[in-house]
């Protein structure tokens, strides 16, 4: 693979968000594979308990324990985990307060449930806190992970999710929670972090991506690239596309072609093909408009192709190659 310019050298935390249904998890997984190329060690993290990563890598459900899910070209490793708020809290308490018995009592009194399900924002503080810990973890003086990729909540919730620590700062003026929140906020706003947005070339996802990029920037969170997913190859040349859109392609010519190939050339079939061509033209025209909107966001744009058979593990490697070729990793 050509190892030319890489756009995000120096970034340790890649946050991947996008509107629901745009392929956020697939993109995060492909990015992790691409970043792991050439002997790197990458951690892929999910925080919404969807087990989406396990599905794309076709491995058993992930737990809080970091597990290897794939090898990348040149000896790289992709590890993955599903961060869960309760486990993160217990780990945090153990790590910083050596709680032992008190943790059990907290659990018994419902304090743990309170903190992870009811208390405002604490859940997100814990989830981002675990990501922070993974990014910062060192062994023998060097980072355990070369990069961490976070399969984050969707665009509509991303700013609140990442900014939760800044909100806590408003709630807790001093104390240990405040210190923890401050450190996380510092990492998230540093050049070591970028937030990538995944979109499709459709109105709502593009609109949400543009809004998301603006909101992230307003919250001082570093916006990374825009990944346009499910890009289709043009099958018709430009001049035919225009005719297809006007439903003025030559029906007789289509029928003659069908007959030559030994297919039924009934009016229904010919008409069906022409209707499909018109839909295709309308779709491409829309995609072109939406692509212009994506370019207007003013961030680096990467494209991922639509794979006819859907994404399996093989397809994931293919998508990772495309990201590498385009300099995203």
């Amino acid at each position: 693979m050509p190892n030319g310019e890489r756009d995000w050298d120096g970034v340790r935390l890649h946050v991947v968000t996008g509107k629901g249904g745009t392929g956020k998890t697939t993109t995060a997984a492909a990015l992790a594979l691409a970043l792991a190329r050439g002997g790197k060690r990458v951690l892929l993290v999910e925080v919404e308990n969807r087990q989406g990563i396990a599905q794309v890598f076709d491995v058993p459900p992930l737990s809080y324990a970091e597990t290897k899910v794939a090898s990348a070209a040149g000896g790289g490793t992709v590890m993955a985990m599903a961060v869960e708020a309760k486990a993160a809290l217990l780990e945090y308490l153990q790590l910083f307060y050596k709680l032992g018995r008190a943790a059990g009592v907290l659990e018994k009194f419902g304090a743990i449930d309170f903190a992870t399900t009811i208390a405002p924002g604490i859940r997100d503080v814990l989830l981002t806190g675990k990501v922070y810990e993974a990014v910062r973890r060192r062994d023998n003086g060097r980072p355990v992970y070369d990069a961490v990729v976070l399969d984050a909540p969707p665009t509509g919730r991303i700013v609140r999710f990442l900014n939760v620590n800044a909100e806590v700062v408003g709630l807790a003026k001093i104390g240990p929670i405040r210190n923890q929140a401050d450190s996380i906020t510092t990492l998230l706003r540093s050049p070591q972090t970028v937030v990538h947005l995944v979109t499709l070339l459709e109105e709502m996802p593009v609109q949400e991506t543009a809004d998301g990029a603006r909101h992230l920037a307003a919250a001082d969170l570093p916006v990374g690239g825009v990944v346009v997913n499910l890009v289709r190859e043009a099958v018709l040349p430009v001049r035919r596309l225009a005719a297809a859109g006007k439903f003025s392609l030559d029906a007789d010519e289509v029928a003659a072609g069908l007959a030559e190939a030994g297919l039924p050339a009934s009016a229904a079939v010919v008409d069906g093909l022409l209707v499909e061509a018109r839909d295709h033209a309308a779709r491409l025209a829309l995609e072109k408009r939406e692509r212009a909107e994506v370019d207007d966001i003013g961030r680096p744009v990467y494209e991922l192709p639509a794979l006819a058979s859907g994404v399996d593990l093989g397809g994931l490697y293919l998508l990772a190659d495309r990201l590498t070729e385009q300099g995203m990793a």
Binding site: Y97, K108, A111, F114, G156, Q207, A256, R283
Partner: protein, 392 residues
């Protein structure tokens, strides 16, 4: 327990029964329709299309949307987030119906509950508490809880004033599908829980007697919380909980009422999905969950379905024929159209296979399919078209 299904159409020779949307909307017994499903599958659009169709067939409808796309919101006259239902302009009222729409303002809904359940002074105290402010605007689950609360309010208003005979609700884009079912109960169990009593203990008069109820763990917990949260945060929480104490009964009662409302015969759940793995998995999960909660399911709306038009040609035959034409260097146009058709047929086949996973597990759940549009829906005509597709 199998899900209760209403509005069921005739069952075709094979496959799932068709969801008879018009029968559901016309049935005056249908008082509430809840649209739920994974994020990004067109829940809001489906809710709006159902509401509009019901209104134009003569029902008096209010639709509660959670987070509509900007242009869809504008098309319904929803320019502001003010918790007030407003009449949608441009609705055909020939059949005697009407459509009102509103967008959920979660913080305001919460504030209103506080205000209606406590004295003005106490309400002020709660509203000014930093912990309350964070809870009401960012608590994971507040939106779900407030959506259900608003549904209860709208329904009560409908019963009282007779303005509406149908309430259609969209559900929040949850982390996972059943969040809005769980949120009220979660809050309820928290309010009933030992933790709240523990938090209340120091603030209560005669706290000492109260404390005796607990083991020596109390001090350990309080000390730990102070250590972890800091004294100031804990104090805020305690003040908040103490101020809220008088409202607890009301909160729990409302959560229970809303929950029972969702189990009533007049309520219909419509699960919305797209023919994608995640969305259908969520839909499956939701159907099971509704059955377990004994909440009435009407059926599944499957959005963005890709169908072939030239149905008699398989993808394989089309590709082979296109290759033949290309080899012979003749009829390039036909070859291109065949390739295009093959792509579309492949997508349709994949979607069908994914849908089968759902239908195989839930053969009795009626389904309405809506084809994929090139354009998004952002006006009433677009919503009418979705309504027609839902009933086609």
């Amino acid at each position: 327990m199998s899900p209760t299904t209403r509005g069921r159409g005739r069952r075709p020779a094979t496959g799932s029964p068709r969801l008879d949307v018009d029968a559901l909307l016309r049935d005056r017994g249908t008082r509430i329709i809840v649209c739920c499903g994974a994020g990004g599958v067109g829940k809001t659009t489906t809710a709006a299309a159902l509401a509009l169709r019901a209104a134009e067939q003569g029902r008096s409808v209010v639709v509660l949307t959670i987070d509509p796309a900007r242009r869809l919101a504008q098309s319904m006259g929803l320019e502001q987030l003010d918790n007030t239902p407003r009449e949608v302009k441009g609705v055909d009222a020939a059949a005697g119906g009407r459509l009102d729409a509103m967008m959920l303002d979660m913080k305001r809904t919460f504030d209103e509950i506080v205000e209606s359940h406590s004295t003005p002074e106490k309400a002020q105290q709660i509203l000014a508490n930093p912990f309350y402010q964070a809870l009401s605007s960012s608590f994971a689950g507040t939106q779900e809880y407030m959506a259900m609360e608003k549904l209860g309010q709208l329904r009560a208003e409908a019963d009282r004033g007779g303005t509406w005979d149908l309430v259609v609700v969209d559900t929040p884009p949850s982390r996972s599908a059943p969040d809005f079912l769980d949120a009220p109960q979660r809050l309820g169990s928290f309010l009933d829980g030992r933790f709240i009593k523990l938090l209340l203990a120091p603030a209560k008069v005669g706290g000492k007697a109260y404390l005796k109820v607990f083991s020596s763990g109390v001090n350990l917990v309080t000390n730990t919380l102070t250590k972890v949260l800091g004294a100031q945060v804990l104090r805020d929480i305690q003040t908040f909980v103490a101020a809220l104490d008088t409202m607890f009964g009301g909160f729990r009662e409302r959560a229970d009422v809303t929950y029972r409302l969702l189990q009533e015969k007049g309520t219909s759940f419509v699960v919305v999905a797209a023919p994608e793995g995640d969305a259908l998995r969520e839909a499956s999960y939701f159907v099971d969950r509704l059955a377990a909660e004994r909440m009435p399911l009407s059926g599944l709306v499957l959005n963005r379905v890709h169908d072939v038009v030239a149905g008699s040609l398989s993808a394989e035959r089309s590709i082979a024929a296109a290759e033949t034409l290309t080899e012979r260097k003749v009829h390039p146009l036909t070859a291109q159209l065949l390739r295009l058709h093959a792509e579309r047929a492949q997508v349709a086949t994949r979607e069908k296979a994914l849908t089968t996973r759902f239908t195989a597990a839930h053969p009795d759940v009626p389904i309405a399919r809506v084809p994929a549009f090139a354009q998004d829906v952002h006006d009433l005509d677009g919503l009418r078209q979705v309504g027609r597709d839902l009933t086609a």
